[in-house]
């Protein structure tokens, strides 16, 4: 019998509760965030939910002048973050600088997750990150 669960929806349900979760591989301990059915470090597929610290480092960035389809048309600054638990994660930077070039020499920059509602109609919440310096 398959051990695959509705991980994607479960992750979004946790986010709606204000929790930033990852799936931990029971075999090797690696974290998958966002979640997948199998561990991409060892290939095993026996996973359990764990709450993540929300700590991360910004490693690179890009400004989207074409908005945040389909959730909005405003310019946003997107960050690529290395989570404290290991995975890379891409999400919006909250209150980022107007001139993002000033971030370049300061990388990596500590950041903390904040979970926000991105679409009320579908009760969708998603992580964003606030830079800590």
């Amino acid at each position: 019998m398959s051990d695959v669960k509705a991980y994607m929806k479960e992750w979004y349900d946790y986010l709606a509760e204000g929790k930033f979760m990852g799936l931990r591989c029971k075999k090797c301990g690696a974290i998958e965030c966002p979640p997948y059915a199998a561990c991409n470090t060892c290939g095993a597929h026996d996973m359990e939910w764990v709450e993540l610290s929300g700590d991360a480092e910004l490693v690179t960035f890009s400004r989207s002048l074409m908005g945040n389809y389909p959730y909005g048309n405003d310019d946003i600054l997107i960050g690529w973050f290395r989570l404290a638990e290991g995975p890379l994660f891409s999400a919006e930077i909250i209150d980022g600088p107007e001139n993002e070039e000033e971030l370049l020499p300061k990388l990596p920059i500590k950041a903390k997750v904040e979970i926000v509602c991105i679409e009320e109609k579908n009760n969708l919440y998603f992580p964003k990150f606030r830079l800590q310096s």
Partner: protein, 426 residues
């Protein structure tokens, strides 16, 4: 990668690409459906090889987003007769901008395995108009910008990779890693791209398949700019679409097709009119938007490394490199990672004239995506065909001075997929 590699020699004996353009207005494409456009490249490639569709065992059809852009599903059988290949098997696939390389790899694998003797990888895209649903596909309506970009956004994994500005954000993320590593600025990147654009403008004006006939000097003059630099660095004529990317750095959307015919050594000996170009290395990988935050990127390293390892070459052996030059990311990432350009120096290569046909490190002599155009599926098929013609000495005014004997084709496609080929003259 399999330990045994390719089970027998496979070579390209025919390669071609169509005129690039806009289906509704460019004379060479006017009133074409995807069938005629694919046939244009396919039949020219067959002529190049000295064969017909009767000689080809199978075809691999590359077409990006056919359900969305062309109102078509499972369409390979619709194309067979257009190639003179009635009843022959066809495979349909889509790896976005990397489609042609993946299709060629599939064709090579089919021949190398002994399944077939001769397979054609043909790739087509009409990106400026869409057929009316369930009508003969010469009846078409214009695609507006919103519709085009809606399809592009489907190349971003909607489960987790939001936000993502398809075709821009991931490239910028990777480029920032390079700029940070070597202490370069946003202006340094602009300088690289402006000089690369000039390089490609010269190439494309020497390419009879282009649909642009203006030099940047003429465009600048028409827009009352005092110089090409003023024109290309203008927020009006080349506006920003991201932190560093400008609209002209993205690629010129157009319609077009490309075809590559591969075969066994025995078939080449019996049929080929010209020098067969051997495919000696192949590599591939996938990644998603968040992986572009890793510098250097492991997926590109895997793809290029596998291909070069299979061929037994290093960067010093590469005479010509063809890349997916949208955004300029590959210019400074892949070209340096494989050893074609020196670490930290790729950003200067265009400005130094090294990438031109008479330079020591030529790249994309066709005019590339930024000037010849980006027909989606056929994008790197153009570069494979161009490489074949370069290696045979057939490129006329844009011929590389020193005839290349080893070419690395390296690309990525939205989604993302990475793929690489090594071509060698044996």
């Amino acid at each position: 990668m399999g330990k045994q590699g390719l089970q027998r020699g496979v070579s390209i004996i025919g390669a071609a690409y169509s005129h690039m353009g806009v289906q509704a207005t460019t004379p060479e494409l006017k009133d074409f459906s995807e069938r005629e456009l694919a046939a244009t490249a396919a039949l020219e490639a067959m002529d190049d090889a000295g064969i017909t569709g009767q000689d080809v065992d199978a075809f691999v059809l590359g077409h990006c987003g056919p359900n969305f852009y062309a109102k078509a599903m499972s369409e390979a059988p619709f194309f067979a007769d257009w190639f003179g290949m009635h009843g022959k098997p066809g495979w349909l696939h889509d790896e976005a901008c990397a489609t042609s390389v993946f299709g060629t790899q599939q064709a090579v694998a089919m021949v190398a395995s002994g399944m077939y003797e001769c397979v054609m990888a043909v790739n087509v895209g009409i990106n400026t108009t869409a057929p009316l649903a369930s009508r003969p596909p010469f009846l078409r309506a214009p695609i507006d910008n919103d519709f085009f970009w809606e399809g592009m956004y489907y190349t971003v994994e909607p489960a987790y990779d939001k936000p993502g500005n398809a075709g821009v954000g991931e490239a910028e993320a990777a480029i920032m890693g390079y700029l940070k590593q070597y202490g370069y600025s946003f202006d340094d990147y602009d300088r690289m791209m402006v000089d690369y654009l000039k390089n490609q403008n010269t190439n494309v004006l020497n390419n009879p398949k282009n649909h642009m006939s203006q030099s940047f000097e003429e465009m600048a003059k028409d827009m009352d700019c005092d110089s090409v630099d003023e024109f290309l660095l203008s927020d009006i004529f080349n506006p920003r679409v991201g932190s560093i990317l400008r609209s002209r750095y993205l690629g010129l959307a157009c319609d077009g097709s490309a075809a590559v015919i591969v075969c066994s050594d025995e078939f080449a000996k019996a049929h080929s009119l010209k020098t067969p170009i051997r495919i000696t290395g192949m590599g591939a990988a996938t990644n998603v938007i968040r992986d572009w935050g890793e510098y250097p990127m492991s997926a590109a390293k895997k793809s290029n490394g596998e291909a070069m390892g299979m061929a037994g070459i290093t960067g010093a052996d590469i005479d010509y490199m063809a890349i997916h030059d949208c955004c300029g990311a590959e210019l400074i990432l892949d070209c340096e990672q494989v050893g074609y350009l020196e670490p930290g120096q790729g950003i200067h290569a265009a400005s130094q004239g090294r990438l031109a046909p008479d330079g020591d490190k030529p790249i994309n002599t066709s005019g590339g995506r930024l000037q010849l155009g980006h027909p989606a599926a056929g994008a790197l098929g153009i570069e494979i065909a161009e490489a074949v013609h370069q290696m045979r000495g057939e490129c006329g005014p844009r011929q590389i001075d020193k005839l290349p004997k080893t070419t690395l084709i390296s690309c990525y496609g939205a989604g993302f997929s990475e793929a690489a080929l090594v071509l060698q003259t044996m």
